[in-house]
Structure formats: C-alpha cells, structure tokens
Symmetry: C2
Subunit: 237 residues, 2 copies
DNA sequence: TGATATTAAATTGTTGACAATCTTGTGCGC
DNA sequence: GCGCACAAGATTGTCAACAATTTAATATCA
C-alpha cells in the first residue's frame, strides 16, 4: 500500500457488505491482495467509506469462504492456504468443475458459446494491452462463466469459492517461470471441444489444465515465523 | 412453539455464533425447525442467552449456507428451497458425495469402518427407541461421517451444507407415506460394499439411495400466500 | 360488513461509546 | 547490549441506546 491511503472517492450509494466482499474477492483474483495481508477494520472503513459493522459482516462472510482468516482479537488476514489445503482445492475443482462442464455440454446454447467467445476475446485484449492484473482476473472469471452454464447454483457458488482460493494458492506457491496461470489457448480449445460436442475432450482439457497449474506450483516450506529466520539468515552475508 | 419460551437454562460459558449456528442446524437436521419458520432475534437471544450481535452473526453465516433466508428489515426465516433448488441440491450431492466416497474407499482404515459400524448401531438403537428426531439426525450425520473419510475439507463442508438443505427439502416436499428418509439397511450395505473393496457398488448404492429419496418427494405447488387461501378455503366447509 | 387510513407495538438496522485485548515502544536493571 | 517489566497506543469485541422499518391493532367511513 505505497499509494495514498484513503482518498475518499465519491460514492453515490453506501456500499453493503456484499459489495465489500466482492471488492476484496476481486482484489484477490487480480492478485493485488497478497495472502497474509493484514486487513484492519479501520483501514477498510476509510477505503470503502462504510461503517465498521459492514466491514465486520464482510469479514465474517469472507472467512466462511476461506478467503480471509479471522482470529479472535487478532482481526482479519488474507488466507494463506497450506499445501495440503491447496491439494484439496484442486481435487475439489477437478470434481466439481468437471461435473459442471458435463452439464454445460448438454445445456449450452449458441448464445452461451458466443458469450464465451466474447470473453476469450476480452482475455486476449487484456493480455495484448499488458494489463496483467485484469488478464489474471479474466482467466479466473472464464472458469466461473463456463461453470455457470452448468445450471447448478450450489455447485457454481462452491466453484467460485475454489477459484478465489486457487488465486491465493498461485500467489503463494506459483513458480515465477512456470505457467502458473491459465494459458489462453487452453481456454479456447476447451470452448471449441464443448461447442463441437466433445464433452469428454473438454473434461480432459480441463483436468489437464488444472493439473498443469498444480504442477507449476512450488511448495517451499513457509512456516510463518521460522521462514523469516531462514530468509534473513540467507540475505545477511 | 407452544412450550414455555425462555426458561434460562444455566449456561457455563457464553455461546458463540458458531454454537448458535450449530444449534440451528441441528434443529433443522432433526426436523424440529420447519422451513419458513420465522426466527426473531429477540427470541433466539433469550433462548441461547446471548447478545443480539451473536445472533446476528449466526444469521449471516446461516444465510450464506442457505439454511435461513435474510431479507432487509424483515429478519430471518428458515429457508424454503424451491423444487428447482431441490433438484440442484440432489444433483450436487450425487457429484460431491460420489467423489468423496471414491476417495474414502482408498483411504478408510479398519478403525474408520469400526466408527461407521458403531454409528449404524446408534442409528438402529434410536429407531428401536422410537426416538425419531434423533434417528433422523443420525441418518443425516451418517452421510457426513462417511464423507469425512474422503479427506477433502472443502468438499466435506460443501456436502454438510447440502445435507442440511436436504433436510429442509424433505420437510417441505416429503410424502408422508414415502421412504423420504434413509432406510437403515441402505447405509449398512453401503458400508459393507466399501469395506469389501467394491467402491463402484458403494457409489451405485449411494446414487440409488439419493434417487429414491428424491423420488419420494412430492412437489406440490406451495406459493406462500396463495397457499393459505387454498388451505382455508378447503377447511372452511 | 368490508375496505382503508391511522396509530401503536414489535422488530430490525445503525451508530457510537466503552471494555478487553493485543501490539508497540520505552525504560530499567543486569 | 540484552532481557524483561511496564506503560502507551492501536485494534478488536461488546453492548446499549436510538433510528428506521415493518407488522399488528384500532378507528373511520362508505
């Protein structure tokens, strides 16, 4: 947070806790909010121009989705999933997202595919403009957009939660060189497979896609405190 | 609520919002709390001996899990899933619970199976004692206990949510005569299949089980207000 | 009687003050 | 300098009063 903290932008209507949640989630998705970041109530109050109550409610909802971690008297911290949790998130995504895509294969209309194609173009545009934050968010939203075609609200909500957690996991454990994010043509081929009536191929593409993301992770031991010792011991010289 | 409202039972420690959530969820699972029941803050405050803040937080969490429905200035009402939502819940259960059982098949230890057998005995005992409320709760908890063996926390949490919603759905649409609840031997055979290393059979038993529950539902139109008219018109004579 | 407007009660929403707790900084003794 | 007790500040937790809204009850009139 090196920029000026709390420039009170004009807010026509008062934001609700859902708005605050969405803003936080979007920031997580754009990787502008790093795992482990401390979120003080006061700060968010001034940033969003809302009451402490609203921020508190937002924290509670976000903690339920494992996006922030709440600890009594300690406040809210952006969640830092463990490697084990990361593994479980990917496993859950393989299960739920496959099921939703299977459903989507039989339900998607031409208009739906058009929407997906439009999204893919937006992705490419963001990448071409080197608007990386936006591109990262869009690649995440692609999966949600695709899953929405499955027509199952509970699973969709669950998958959204998992996508946000994936963003945290990549931020934590993503190797710098590795293709930790979605490659553009992966999405393209997935849509094509669906559109051409090859759902099995689509599912295989998806699982490969998820597996390659997971393979691009590097679970270095980051044990909070002990980590700092190692880091500073190495940087001392 | 015909019984005396607020006999303040001695509470050693102050309950937290999670406690209140659990109590409400348990009541839903035991079908002691009917869908559509209005939950006033004041009432729950006196019942649980907690502050309004705690009840409010509990409501927020429960609303996230679709167990209660919150409406601005209207308060909390026990959720009444629509037939479409019910369908989606069963679909989600088939997907997630199958996956968890598949995982459980490769992970469950003899001690785990012993735990399941013990639970089955408890179920039978409750049924023998004609403690129906407890039996209903136990049959629901069986699915959660089984799913826990899958070793995937996010999916487990999601399934728990779905199980509670299933309880609401059965309460709403369960035919009186139909076997809307889990039959005891279904559970027994499921455990046996798993224990004997036949996971495919276990999954088939589960899906059949869920399908039979769903088939035992009767989605009569219950349009809130209009329903009352019909009801009283019929009972007037 | 039945429908509608008005008032009273009940319920929820919001706010701010205060208490409890944690964190940081300071000073003291060694 | 190091370790530790202590105090000051910052942050979160709790609560109760007040405001806003909904719901129920009552009165009024056709």
């Amino acid at each position: 947070m090196s920029r000026e903290a709390a420039k009170p932008v004009f807010q026509p209507a008062v934001l609700t806790e859902e708005d605050v949640c969405r803003r936080v989630r979007d920031s997580v998705l754009e990787q502008r909010l790093a795992p482990g970041t401390r979120l003080t109530e006061d700060k968010l109050c001034t940033v969003f121009g809302v009451n402490r109550t609203v921020v508190r409610r937002a924290f509670l909802l976000l903690s339920r989705d494992k996006i922030v971690h709440l600890e009594k008297n300690k406040g809210a911290v952006v969640a830092t999933p463990t490697p084990e949790e990361a593994d479980e998130v990917f496993e859950a995504r393989r299960v739920v997202e496959s099921a939703l895509i299977t459903q989507a294969a039989t339900r998607a209309t031409p208009a739906d595919f058009e929407g997906l194609r439009t999204h893919l173009k937006t992705e490419k545009a963001a990448l071409a403009e080197a608007d990386i934050a936006r591109w990262i968010r869009l690649t995440g939203e692609f999966h949600i957009l695709l899953a929405r075609l499955g027509g199952n609200a509970p699973m969709l909500a669950f998958l959204e939660q998992l996508v946000f957690q994936t963003s945290l996991i990549i931020a934590l454990y993503g190797k710098a060189g590795a293709p930790s994010n979605c490659r553009g043509d992966d999405h393209e081929r997935l849509v094509t497979a669906l559109e051409q009536g090859r759902p099995e191929d689509a599912i295989r593409l998806l699982t490969d896609h998820l597996n390659s993301i997971e393979a691009g992770l590097d679970f270095v031991p980051r044990d909070d405190t002990q980590d700092l010792h190692q880091i500073f011991a190495a940087s001392a010289g």
